[in-house]
């Protein structure tokens, strides 16, 4: 299994970065046709950058922390001079005029961005099927979805194309596809990673995070991208900024909470068994496990489906064909806006914009949006109380394994329910990570650790402790 750490160390000790990047790109060109993870690869630059890393090493210079490591980025992150389209026709030709802060930091660390990955259009969806360009397949079974909205990034790591990818998570969009694709995906605490250059979806919920095979790799990437950024007023330096590079992890004495509201009827029996087996294993390793209750859990979905569309409708108001994307013909300015948005946006995007504008309109703003924000605050408070008794929570990431492509697509409520375990961490702003914990019908199952606000290191430690005693994360359809 090729990891960020493994590749980084190999390059430091003399292995050619150029050969690694060439091999990475060859594999993508040979195999991505049947997966559809990438929208575009940046071959020439990636190879040139890799050559420069090799040259630096030959000159005896110190190599930066991620020198030569190939990484993929989700299509909603601005990488200067490259298209960032959010998998939407609206931005199909949009070239970023600047680097997102996370991109800047990764490049300063020597990482090599090899391509941009497919996603649900404007990050709206849980299966990567709403992409205006193509559907991504789950590398474990190409008749199944990879999850979403960071389905391309998750599939790219699962298929062994890259050891790491960046995703973004507003309601589970890193963790759920990571779960369905059998890889590790982490959403940091809100504000830990700068959103500057991330094409905004819901500004009070969005976070960028790493998708990798291991918690160790996730930790390494997070350490590079985290931290206050003067260009993002919601970003800050976290209290536990020093993430150990080799996460020394143990369950001994760790207080684990199992929230009873996350073990619901209708949950796949195999998923439940797998999570319960994992919890038993943690107990044998010295964890103190207790049941806890989060009664407001059932309100996080409605709160999410008010806050997110409301903020989305506001953030997507800028897409009118004037400054970005394709200008639409119209007899006057308003006609031009209407045509650009009618042509540029897919059905799910239009649905959420409509819902959001309705929620924020006069007469409903207080009852819906303000009420949802109050419930959000209440949910955050409820988690804070529970974290006085426990250190981390363990839950399933997804109530089911990957489903068939083209299934469930027309029923919005069913699609929303498949996010039910993940939106709470976004609503409460908490760090959460999904790790592979088993299989059902040959498809990966994910387990989620949720931590208290800014306790990202502790969450990574729990995930690393689990990976030290299991090997689910070492399997993979594309893993060598």
């Amino acid at each position: 299994m090729k990891t960020v750490l493994g590749i980084r160390d190999a390059i430091r000790t003399g292995e050619s970065a150029e050969s690694i990047v060439r091999a990475c790109l060859s594999k993508i060109h040979a195999e991505d046709e049947k997966i559809g993870a990438f929208l575009e690869t940046f071959d020439d630059e990636a190879i040139a950058e890799a050559k420069e890393i090799d040259a630096m090493r030959e000159r005896g210079e110190d190599l930066p922390r991620l020198a030569g490591v190939p990484i993929a980025i989700k299509d909603n992150m601005c990488y200067k001079g490259h298209i960032a389209s959010c998998s939407s026709k609206m931005l199909a030709e949009h070239k970023a005029a600047y680097d997102a802060t996370v991109i800047k930091r990764l490049k300063e660390a020597g990482a090599i961005i090899v391509g941009r990955t497919n996603m649900d259009e404007f990050a709206m969806g849980s299966s990567t099927e709403t992409s205006a360009f193509k559907k991504t397949k789950n590398p474990w079974h190409t008749g199944k979805v990879p999850g979403g909205s960071s389905g391309g990034s998750s599939a790219a790591v699962a298929a062994g194309f890259v050891p790491a990818a960046l995703g973004s998570d507003t309601g589970g969009s890193i963790r759920q596809p990571a779960s369905l694709c059998g890889v590790t995906g982490m959403k940091p605490s809100y504000g830990r990673v700068s959103r500057y250059g991330l094409i905004a979806m819901a500004s009070s919920l969005d976070q960028i995070g790493p998708i990798t095979h291991t918690a160790q790799d996730a930790s390494l990437i997070l350490e590079i991208i985290q931290g206050v950024d003067e260009k993002d007023a919601t970003s800050r330096d976290p209290k536990d900024a020093d993430l150990p590079e080799f996460v020394s992890a143990s369950f001994k004495g760790l207080r684990i909470g199992v929230p009873k509201e996350y073990f619901i009827d209708g949950m796949d029996k195999e998923v439940r068994k797998s999570i319960e087996a994992a919890i038993d294993l943690m107990k044998t390793q010295g964890a103190e496990v207790k049941e806890v209750s989060l009664p407001l859990t059932e309100y996080s979905m409605p709160a999410y489906y008010i806050i997110q569309p409301a903020e989305v409708s506001s953030n997507l108001a800028r897409f009118d064909g004037m400054r970005y994307g394709t200008r639409a013909p119209g007899s006057n300015l308003i006609e031009s806006y209407l045509q650009a948005r009618a042509d540029g946006f897919g059905a799910e995007v239009k649905r959420r914009i409509m819902l959001g504008n309705f929620i924020l309109s006069a007469g409903y703003y207080d009852a819906f949006y303000k009420k949802a924000l109050a419930v959000k605050t209440a949910i955050h408070g409820e988690f804070e109380n529970v974290f006085k008794e426990v250190d981390v929570l363990v839950t399933p990431t997804s109530p089911s394994v990957a489903w068939d492509l083209d299934a469930k697509f027309n029923d919005p409520i069913t699609m929303y329910l498949s996010d039910i375990f993940t939106t709470t961490a976004n609503i409460a702003g908490l760090p959460a990570i999904s790790v592979p914990c088993g299989f059902a019908e040959g498809l990966p199952i994910g387990l989620q650790f949720i931590g208290a606000f800014d306790n990202d290191a502790r969450v990574l430690n729990a995930a690393a402790a689990y990976q030290a005693i299991t090997d689910f994360h070492e399997n993979g359809p594309g893993v060598e």
């Binding site: 200067k80 504000g191 009070s204 800050r236 709160a303 031009s336 239009k350 409509m354 504008n357 009420k371």
Partner: protein, 96 residues
């Protein structure tokens, strides 16, 4: 809580979306079911809770009000405009 009256055409106008008949019909069917799902929030007593959008304790994160220009970036942005005139964004007339 006000009685929910979902006027699709009014919301479409607020959204700057020109809907086809098929889209209008689909939205008229789907939006009410989502709206009623979210009405569930009225069950939560938040009378003593403040509505906060952002959970962090950051406040008034400002910088000095001095223009900082990256001319390369500015040029990249202008070159990305669908239509430009003398370095300014050219748009259709509001009234034509």
């Amino acid at each position: 809580m006000p009685e929910i009256e979902l006027n699709i055409d009014k919301v479409a106008k607020l959204s700057y979306l020109k809907l086809t008949d098929a889209e209008r019909k689909q939205l008229a069917e789907q939006l009410p079911s989502i709206v009623s799902y979210v009405s569930k929030l009225q069950e939560v007593d938040t009378s003593k809770i403040e509505s906060k959008a952002y959970l962090t304790d950051l406040n008034n994160v400002f910088r000095e009000d001095v223009a900082k220009m990256d001319s390369a970036e500015r040029e990249a942005i202008i070159n990305g405009f669908p239509k430009q005139k003398g370095g300014a964004l050219e748009v259709p007339g509001v009234f034509e």
